[in-house]
């Protein structure tokens, strides 16, 4: 069965610091990969996704993620975080065919001034 691991439960950064949130998955076949973000009091929004092609994917608000197939990873990055990036971030993986979308447990990011 598919599984997704987000190793950092809570990350605290100062404004302008660089961000990298880890995501590893277990699935042997072709995968579609997603990062969702949930800002305080708001609903879950798609941040970026990877289906095929260039493994470096750029999303909204300056976020990017890199798919490294050999490491089964899809880490999320941002070179300089802002206070408004404070949110919970979820990595999700979907295998091919009629397989469900499986979420990690989420990483809470707190950005302080």
């Amino acid at each position: 069965a598919q599984s997704v691991s987000q190793h950092n439960h809570h990350v605290i950064l100062s404004e302008a610091a660089s961000l990298e949130l880890g995501c590893n998955y277990s699935y042997g076949g072709t995968v579609n990969l997603f990062w969702y973000v949930q800002y305080p009091g708001q609903h879950l929004q798609l941040l970026l996704k990877y289906f095929s092609g260039d493994p470096l994917v750029k999303g909204i608000k300056g976020f990017e993620a890199e798919f490294i197939k050999s490491k089964f990873s899809f880490n999320l990055r941002k070179p300089s975080v802002q206070w408004s990036d404070t949110a919970e971030y979820f990595c999700a993986v979907k295998g091919s065919g009629n397989t469900p979308l499986v979420f990690g447990k989420g990483t809470r990011l707190s950005v302080i001034a």
């Binding site: 579609n32 879950l44 798609l46 289906f51 095929s52 979308l101 499986v102 447990k105 989420g106």
Partner: protein, 114 residues
């Protein structure tokens, strides 16, 4: 553009009472529809999904059921709520595109069972 609605936004119910949460999607036809429960520190757990009217698949045995009476309406129900049913319930939709479909989420319903 497509939009997804959920109501109510919050709900407080006593143990043993029935439940009905509604989700509707606008701006698309024949969407795939999903119900998830989100628990703090545990991510999202898929409860039910539907690929068409009257077609429901259950991912996890629950004190809950789902129905899809119309193409763009998905309902989550329970005959008798348990304390453990408290949580944040999210509805999502997607449109199949050769397996590469993206799910979009509604605002959620916060359910508290007392």
């Amino acid at each position: 553009s497509q939009t997804i609605h959920q109501w109510p936004a919050t709900l407080v119910q006593p143990v043993g009472s029935p439940l009905s949460l509604e989700c509707t999607v606008e701006g698309t036809s024949n969407p795939n529809l999903y119900w998830y429960r989100q628990a703090a520190g545990r991510g999202l757990q898929l409860l039910f999904y539907s690929v068409g009217i009257g077609q429901i698949s259950s991912e996890v045995p629950q004190n809950l059921s789902a129905s899809r009476p119309q193409d763009r309406q998905f309902i989550l129900s329970s005959k008798k709520l348990l304390l453990s049913d408290s949580g944040f319930y999210l509805c999502a939709w997607s449109v199949s595109s050769g397996g590469a479909d993206t799910q979009y989420f509604g605002p959620g319903t916060r359910l508290t069972v007392l």
